[in-house]
């Protein structure tokens, strides 16, 4: 791997190597730019370093200090934040979905949220690029939305839990399909096909899973980029001319300064606003890129409620990736009394996660818990991914407490809105019908859960109403960019990472075009 010196002024210094930053690093390097990508986490080698173990793999999570409040404080850590080269995708569930086209114009076409400054047809092109880069395994034809080409790899065999979703959907007259997944169904390069061990959300130790870590990061290095791990960015420096000059970062016990012509923040929806706010100067007293006051605002998550039940048959839901089938029915139906959409997927929680659900949703403990856990192999469930509306009351601010680097920590404030609650109730009702239709017994709902994050540095049409433009370039500082899930103005009813990657690929192409026209 090429290594730069601190006083080398690289073209792009990217902070964070996840779905946004890792993809951007790869593509910018391939476009011929000099690139350094920093990550606070470690550069793991899955074959040697990854255990198949829920507890041990906590080493993949962002567990630095954070404070949560609001009416419904978010659960941080494994559920939503990674800290490793490759970002949260190292332990993501691999579900790789495209937005419904109308969501890019949800304000003007569907009456809620905000419009994106992006065109869905252009996104369709970049979604395809992202799907090819990750060799997504999926169905021959996808039942919802505009036509798309067949997925690069054939769909995986469906497990028992996945078949039960299909049976329930059919009973309700809904379409279902095999979930497009970022794990290969046939060998690809150094990746053997998936062996259905079901530890995907704890880091795949065989490399079957296709994440930033084993796709874009190696491509970035091959194209001359430096990946600098265990490097925590603490502050972006800005000069009197109002341009970013580089980044102060902590590595090997000391602070250093790396020069750069452009700085890209890709730390995800908590760390991105935190870094921008922590970089305040007398000229930018409210933080960088924050003349709109919107840095940290409109924090979104996605509703992740579920319905579980028990079958007489053995299901053994831990086999295979957890979400082998999906129905997006309610993402494409508009005859409903709430805004936004949702999908649901088959489930396969491992023992600790299942115990969390039993204690969290049902409050079980004592003999009752231990006995109930023994039905593990007969359990089945459906879990939603639902759209949460952007709301100014949900935000990331700075707390006065400090982390291990002496940096002010983020305070994360979240409450469900009225629309969110109606959508969740609707989804729980529909999933319950599906569970009844397959003959599940002892059905119960997990009413409290949320997962993916978005918002806090939204893209938009003007400097007054957004933090960055369609190219992920900040309105206030021409050489400061944000490229990750925080640029989402709305979050849609599907998992976000494919959209984050598509935005990163588009941004790389736009940067190349701007460089050619002397507009950087």
């Amino acid at each position: 791997m090429r290594e730069y010196r601190l006083d080398d002024e690289v073209d792009f210094l990217i902070i964070g190597t996840g779905a946004g930053g890792g993809t951007l690093a790869g593509k910018l390097a391939e476009h011929g730019f000099s690139v350094i990508a920093l990550d606070a986490g470690l550069y793991f080698r899955p074959l040697e370093d990854f255990a198949s173990d829920e507890t041990e793999q906590e080493k993949l999570y962002w567990l630095d200090r954070r404070v949560c409040d609001g009416a419904d404080p978010l659960q941080m850590g494994g559920k939503n934040s990674g800290k490793a080269v490759g970002g949260s995708m190292v332990h993501f569930a691999m579900v790789s979905l495209r937005f419904r086209p109308e969501w890019f114009k949800s304000r003007s076409l569907l009456g809620y949220g905000a419009d994106w400054p992006l065109d869905w047809r252009e996104m369709w092109h970049y979604y395809r690029q992202a799907e090819l880069a990750l060799s997504i395994s999926g169905p021959v034809s996808y039942p919802w939305g505009p036509k798309r080409p067949r997925y690069p790899y054939r769909a995986h065999e469906v497990n028992s839990a996945g078949r039960l979703l299909a049976k329930g959907a059919e009973a309700l007259g809904m379409q279902w399909t095999e979930t497009p997944l970022a794990t290969v169904s046939a060998p690809r390069g150094k990746s053997p096909p998936c062996v259905y061990r079901g530890f995907c959300r704890f880091g795949c130790s065989t490399n079957a899973k296709q994440s930033t870590l084993n796709t874009w990061i190696p491509r970035a290095i091959a194209a001359g980029a430096e990946i600098r791990d265990l490097a925590m960015a603490g502050r972006i420096e800005v000069n009197d001319a109002g341009r970013a000059t580089g980044v102060r970062f902590h590595r090997n016990g000391a602070w250093h300064f790396q020069r750069a012509r452009n700085v890209v923040v890709s730390g995800y929806a908590i760390e991105t606003p935190r870094l921008l706010l922590n970089s305040a100067t007398p000229r930018h007293p409210h933080g960088l890129a924050n003349s709109s006051g919107l840095v940290g605002k409109y924090l979104m998550t996605q509703s992740n409620q579920a319905v579980f039940g028990r079958m007489d048959d053995e299901v053994r839901w831990y086999k295979g990736p957890p979400s082998l089938t999906i129905t997006e029915h309610w993402n494409y139906q508009d005859n409903k009394d709430f805004f936004g959409g949702y999908c649901w997927m088959a489930q396969g929680p491992l023992p600790i996660e299942w115990a969390f659900i039993q204690t969290g949703a049902r409050g079980l403990w004592g003999e009752a818990l231990r006995r109930d856990m023994m039905n593990y192999n007969h359990q089945v469930g459906l879990k939603m991914v639902g759209e949460v509306l952007p709301d100014t009351r949900n935000h990331v601010t700075l707390d006065d407490e400090r982390d291990q680097y002496g940096l002010r920590i983020p305070r994360i404030t979240f409450s469900w809105g009225e629309n969110d609650k109606i959508l969740i109730d609707h989804a729980i009702g529909q999933m319950t019908l599906s569970m009844q239709a397959i003959g599940a017994r002892e059905i119960f709902a997990q009413r409290e859960d949320a997962n993916h994050l978005a918002g806090t540095a939204r893209m938009g049409f003007s400097p007054e109403t957004s933090v960055v433009n369609a190219d992920c370039r900040s309105w206030d500082i021409a050489n400061l960019w944000v490229c990750d899930g925080s640029v989402f103005p709305t979050t849609g009813g599907v998992n976000p990472s494919l959209t984050i990657q598509a935005i990163a690929l588009r941004t790389a192409d736009r940067i190349k075009a701007m460089a050619q026209h002397g507009e950087l």
Binding site: S52, G77, I352, N377
Partner: protein, 189 residues
């Protein structure tokens, strides 16, 4: 079982966890042990999963990091405050039935005293007490066998994905025919 080296190392370290407290003070440690025994009562005919020791080790490693939910302090301090508060209700002197009744009141937020001011009982019970105890228990191979989980299965994986299909290296269920299950399981390694 089919375990790669990283998995083997992680599980071995867990099995070798120190049985003496290094984070909790002596009295807190006694309360914690009783509490773990009530939340996850274990059969006496096999070695118990050392739940309290695993929590002690976790708090020593990351008791002042992670996420804290207002108004609770960081996890380690929250645990200490809650154990002391529970002790204040005479938890150690109650018989099992009364101890469980006390815990039920804690779960429903029905305990009041100044000792709970920074660890609201229901919040602590749901967000710290239950998760930490079940994480310790269901992260242990003894619990995996108890619930019939196929285990880490790395790098071998599974082939039989359909309903009522068991891979040859998975344990048979014991529920209907214990004898037959025992015989079948003899070949499982």
């Amino acid at each position: 079982m089919s375990w790669n080296d990283a998995t083997r190392r992680a599980v071995d370290a867990r099995l070798a966890v120190a049985r003496e407290p290094r984070f909790f003070a002596a009295r807190e440690w006694q309360v914690l042990n009783r509490l773990c025994g009530r939340i996850l009562p274990q059969p006496v005919d096999r070695p118990a999963v050392p739940i309290a020791a695993l929590i002690d080790s976790k708090m020593r490693r990351m008791g002042d990091a992670g996420t804290r939910i207002e108004p609770m302090p960081w996890d380690g301090e929250a645990w200490r405050l809650a154990l002391t508060a529970l002790d204040g209700h005479g938890f150690m002197n109650l018989d099992d039935t009364d101890a469980d009744a006390l815990l039920t009141r804690m779960q429903h937020g029905a305990l009041a005293s100044d000792a709970w001011s920074r660890v609201p009982p229901a919040l602590f019970f749901a967000k710290r007490l239950l998760p930490d105890i079940v994480e310790a228990y269901y992260g242990h191979p003894t619990a995996w066998s108890e619930i019939g989980f196929g285990g880490p299965a790395s790098p071998r994986g599974y082939v039989r994905m359909d309903t009522n299909r068991r891979d040859p290296w998975e344990a048979t269920e014991a529920r209907d025919e214990p004898e037959a299950a025992l015989r079948a399981n003899r070949h499982v390694r």
